[in-house]
């Protein structure tokens, strides 16, 4: 496992402050955060390359806070690979391995075996990342630290390597912590998501929980939520309807209904729009977060059982491949909905068209 308790470290003017999180043994953690948030520094602190000034680091169940990097049994893969340029690909991969055969097997699984005889200088960025991954895995570490290890791979190879790394991780029982900018990758790979900004952990937990229930509007916006509305949270008298939704669909995030959740109303600032929500928020100023994929767009009212349904006018339609984002103006408030491009075509959505935007009370996260 990887466990950080109140870890602090300093690199020049930058500091990691009070970093606390845990990735269970054999788990796969993902670190997400904006550029300069300290993601790479965090991996280097875990790897022992940078010494923490305070706090405790436990790796594989033992206190590693003061251990030298070579004693931590970690593999560290940087985004820029850092292959040793004076050694061949083969010598890079076997560098820390106990035997050539095992190293070759890992290289084969990752598709790096075809590069075995190549010179490091002749490799592309993606090939370098493959070799760096093989080099770290060949040592069969207890903990694998990956800093955007797939960023230079083409989509097909990325999918393959991602699958193989996941499989090797399971087979070897390694605990992995991976830095990524790719939210889809974070959701796909991670058992634990750690959101880092300004050297601090803003939120950590199951990726679905972090994505669906961001702790602040800033986190919501960083995680790509298109609809983050400022306004006022108020108690709701009509708790029955929201209660029905809870009973029908489980709690927020698809889980079991939470006893403390109650129906609330949210009035968006500067509009007369009142949204029904379910949550734990205290009445007063707050934010409502609604993910675009939770909003259903229809041409007629009552097309959905959702508690929130508002009439509006399409002001923008943006298609990216199979997905179309439709912006609907509801009483001066732009709401972004994500539809399949096929649905958008069937509904003949275009700027100026009147539609209904609907979403469930449970789809509204108050923070």
């Amino acid at each position: 496992m990887i466990e950080c308790v109140s870890v602090e470290a300093r690199v020049g003017a930058f500091s990691l402050r009070d970093v606390t999180f845990a990735v269970p043994s054999g788990g796969y953690g993902v670190v997400i955060g904006p550029a300069g948030s300290g993601k790479t520094t965090l991996l280097e602190v875990l790897g022992g390359v940078i010494r923490s000034t305070t706090g405790t680091i436990r790796l594989g169940g033992r206190d590693a806070t003061r251990l030298a990097p070579e004693a931590r049994r970690v593999g560290l893969v940087y985004q820029h690979a850092y292959l040793f340029p004076h050694l061949s690909v083969a010598r890079n991969i076997v560098y820390g391995a106990s035997g050539d055969a095992g190293a070759r097997e890992i290289a084969t699984r990752l598709g790096a075996d075809r590069l075995w005889a190549r010179d490091v200088q002749s490799l592309s960025g993606g090939e370098r990342q493959l070799v760096a991954l093989a080099r770290a895995l060949a040592r069969r570490p207890d903990v694998l630290l990956l800093d955007e290890p797939f960023s230079a791979l083409d989509p097909r190879r990325r999918a393959h390597v991602r699958r193989e790394v996941r499989a090797i991780h399971r087979e070897l029982g390694m605990t992995v912590l991976q830095v990524t900018h790719d939210f889809a990758e974070a959701g796909l790979l991670g058992d634990v998501a750690i959101l880092l900004d300004g050297g601090r952990v803003l939120q950590h937990g199951a990726p679905d929980e972090v994505f669906r229930r961001p702790a602040s509007p800033y986190i919501a916006e960083f995680l790509g939520a298109e609809n983050v509305l400022a306004g006022t949270v108020m108690p709701c008298d009509d708790g029955g309807v929201a209660g029905e939704e809870l009973a029908a669909g489980g709690g927020p995030g698809g889980g079991a209904a939470h006893a403390s959740y109650r129906a609330l109303e949210f009035r968006a600032a500067g509009t007369s729009l009142t949204i029904v929500a379910v949550g734990e928020a205290d009445p007063g100023p707050g934010h409502a977060v609604i993910r675009a994929e939770e909003i259903v767009v229809s041409r007629a009212p009552g097309a959905s059982s959702a508690r929130n349904s508002f009439r509006g006018r399409v002001i923008d339609v943006a298609t990216t491949g199979a997905l179309t984002r439709v912006t609907v103006d509801v009483d001066g408030l732009p709401l972004v909905a994500a539809l399949t491009t096929r649905s958008a075509r069937e509904l003949a959505l275009a700027p100026g068209v009147d539609v209904y935007a609907s979403f469930k009370a449970m789809a509204v996260h108050l923070c």
């Binding site: 790897g47 390359v49 070579e70 593999g75 560290l76 850092y82 040793f84 004076h86 080099r135 630290l145």
Partner: protein
Amino acid sequence: MADRALYRLASVVTALVASCFLLFLAAPVGQLVSAAGARGLAELGSDPELRDALALTAVTATIATVAGVVGGTPIAYLIARYAFRGRALLAAVLDLPLLIPHPVAGIALLLALGRQSPIGNALLAAGFRISGSRAGIICAMLFVSAPLYLSAAREAFARVDPRYEAVARTLGDPAWRAFRRVTLPLATRGLVAAAVVMWARAVSEFGAIVVLTYNPKVVSVLSYDRFTSYGLPEALPVAAVLVLLALVPLTILRALRYERGAGDF
């Protein structure tokens, strides 16, 4: 069109300035070699004092360089890699011999290592004389030329990204092994270049040596001695032969540096 004309004019001016600079550096040496190079080479066969001076210069400069590399490499690595209190002061102190006029450096060495000094006296009692000996020549060469090695070696280590070493450490190497297997090979080209510069500077040293050890004579002292005793015509061949012979190892080492891929990171 105007941009292209301006670019051409700038190119011509740059080429002219560079040519003048090259001429300024090469002309005196070329003049010296053309005036006395052939005679100097001819005298090599007939002048045992010149042969001895050349051998002494080569050997002492090489020993001083080896001492500089062995002693200076860890210090250069320490300064390049680790941020510690007093790092800037240490680096400045190590650069200091570059600022001291070389005869003054010779006097300082004489004060520290001469017969009147506690160290010199103790060494003399142990049968080891510094001033007026080959050891004195080596000390003078080391003192004035080591700062050049240290400075260039520091840069060579600084150019190697510490993350290579970090990766090697996580792959199981203790600090010393990571240095030997990764950092040192990656810095080798820069270190060789630094050693070449140090060796060249040691070969050309005169001011500090002449104060510490006049005899036995290295080539620079022999050239000065012949100039003061017999005039310029006798000094020129000695100087010319030093230039010609120094050119050989310098060219070989520079060629190795440019031809080899290692270290070009």
